[in-house]
């Protein structure tokens, strides 16, 4: 005990210099007492913390997939997430869509980003609205590009989103060994559909993407043709909530609007022609009455002269009214042509498509 007897209390000088004076034991000390039992007691608060931690860890393990899905959707681009929701994708479809890193791009970017098939499609008159670029080593993963459309054609973005999502879906179905029954179902639905539009698109794929016929048909049938068979529908249902009806309805709305315009233009054209014919008849009648009026005046028959002149004035007024009506209809026609051409321009973007020509207004004689 010699070192303790040298100085009381004993304290190592180096440690004393290094650390300041302790006040700890004066302020908070806990008396340790001899242990009475052999059971180690855990503090209640520690038990609660352990239970909470265990519950949290278990929860994370059990709900891992839901948590990761939630994270993918929560951190996704709100515009893209909205597109997925408008296409009525299920959570699984939405997550897969977001995992493909979809991007809305301009017309010019589209030509670069989707260069592998944009040129081929454009040269055949088909409009490139989006593309799926699969990774070379794994076709079930890749990137989706969507053409940014004017507000009039927003629904087309939604349809294209659904269309492009079905490419990685098809790839994963093929990879999981379902290629044979899936392709049989696609071909069966294609044959029973008997749609000239679909035939044209398939003929185009035969030239541009001959190896991707069923892949493209899978997207086409799913997004543009309602009424597909239940066996084919079962391949889509994990990814789309309402059996794709929402998507095909949106798609048909776009073409219905265009077709309505075309039908209205035809009606207006008929009205213009009718007005023109009526005006010409009225003008001819007016000319005849005027000729008769001058003839009766030359022979001094004042009464016939006056009666024919009145007929002439009446016919000429009919002619002028018909021309005015015709010009009103021409204005409506030209306005509708402008609207249609605007829609065509917005739809086609940078791609060359012939536009409809307006009609020149008539001049009264």
């Amino acid at each position: 005990m010699s070192f303790l007897e040298t100085k009381m209390p004993y304290i190592n000088e180096d440690l004393n210099e290094k650390f300041s004076e302790s006040t700890e034991h004066k302020s908070r000390t806990k008396k340790v007492v001899a242990h009475k039992t052999t059971t180690k007691k855990t503090k209640p608060i520690r038990k609660v913390v352990v239970i909470i931690v265990v519950c949290v860890v278990l929860g994370i393990v059990i709900f891992w997939n839901q948590l990761t899905d939630w994270y993918v959707i929560a951190t996704g681009n709100p515009t893209i997430v909205k597109l997925a929701q408008e296409a009525d994708m299920t959570t699984r479809g939405e997550v897969l869509f977001l995992q493909m890193d979809p991007e809305l791009v301009s017309d010019s970017d589209m030509e670069t980003d989707c260069s592998s098939n944009a040129a081929a499609n454009n040269s055949n008159g088909f409009i490139e609205q989006g593309c799926y670029i699969p990774n070379q080593n794994d076709p079930t993963t890749g990137k989706i590009y969507l053409r940014e459309m004017p507000s009039d054609y927003h629904n087309l973005e939604v349809v294209t989103a659904a269309y492009e999502l079905l490419h990685p879906v098809y790839a994963s179905l093929v990879q999981s060994g379902q290629e044979t029954p899936l392709n049989a179902s696609i071909e069966s639905n294609f044959k029973s559909n008997e749609d000239s539009n679909l035939d044209t698109q398939v003929a185009n794929f035969a030239k541009t993407e001959p190896q991707a016929r069923d892949d493209e048909l899978f997207s086409l049938l799913g997004t543009e043709y309602p009424g597909i068979s239940s066996d084919l529908l079962s391949y889509y249902s994990p990814y789309f909530g309402d059996s794709l009806e929402t998507v095909s309805t949106l798609n048909s709305q776009i073409f219905t609007a265009y077709n309505n315009d075309q039908s209205q233009l035809t009606q207006l054209q008929t009205t213009i022609t009718n007005d023109d014919n009526t005006a010409n008849q009225a003008l001819s009648d007016a000319n005849t009455a005027y000729y008769d009026s001058t003839t009766w005046a030359d022979v001094g028959n004042q009464a016939e002269d006056t009666r024919n002149y009145d007929i002439y004035v009446q016919d000429f007024n009919i002619y002028k009214n018909d021309i005015a009506d015709e010009n009103d209809t021409i204005d409506q026609y030209n306005a509708l042509i402008d609207k249609t051409n605007t829609l065509i321009t917005e739809y086609t973007g940078t791609q060359p498509v012939n536009q409809a020509q307006g009609v020149q207004a008539q001049q009264s004689q």
Partner: protein
């Protein structure tokens, strides 16, 4: 009124205080007479990546057994890059050596006589796999207990107490980090010393 006999500062505002009848550290107060055993251990380790030393650590621990399963621990550690020993590591080593000095001076004189008395009254002391009674030293083996035929001497080497027979052959050993391993030399001298 208790008298402060020794003080081992280990951090600003924190020290290990040895009074004449109890010790205090880290918010604990332990009367010497309830201490059933103790241990201490100092360890230096290094970490390498592809044989290149990237860090080294100094860790010390002191434990007091106060009966049953209850053990009160005190740990300090410090690290430094590569193989260079830093000031904080040197401080940990100094704190350790001071604590050992104080424990051996103030705690051992309480604990060792307590166990000598118990062993004399027929109890045995178990330290890891070693069991010491008044007339035998045994160790645990895969086939059961093995008794030491004749005790020779002990040595403390690299933080462990080694027990040898008279020919110098190792019979067994116990690390000083095991409770009551530090009092083995006292007990061996008492019961088996020449």
């Amino acid at each position: 009124m208790s008298e402060l006999l020794a003080k081992v500062p280990y951090k600003n505002g924190g020290s290990f205080d040895f009074y004449d009848d109890y010790l205090a550290f880290d918010g604990n107060e332990i009367d010497y007479d309830i201490i059933e055993g103790y241990s201490y251990h100092l360890q230096n380790t290094s970490q390498s990546v592809y044989f290149i030393p990237v860090a080294n650590y100094t860790k010390m621990s002191v434990s007091f057994w106060v009966g049953g399963n209850r053990v009160v621990h005190f740990n300090r550690s410090a690290s430094a890059a590569m193989l260079i020993k830093g000031d904080r590591q040197k401080t940990v080593e100094l704190v350790f050596s001071e604590l050992v000095k104080c424990i051996e001076a103030l705690v051992a004189p309480i604990v060792v006589p307590k166990w000598i008395d118990r062993i004399r009254r027929g109890e045995s002391l178990q330290v890891g796999g070693i069991t010491i009674s008044e007339d035998s030293i045994t160790k645990k083996t895969a086939f059961g207990q093995k008794e030491m035929q004749e005790y020779g001497f002990y040595r403390i080497v690299q933080g462990s107490v080694y027990l040898y027979d008279p020919s110098g052959k190792i019979f067994t050993h116990a690390a000083l980090s095991i409770i009551n391993a530090p009092i083995l030399p006292y007990l061996l001298d008492e019961f088996f010393g020449n």
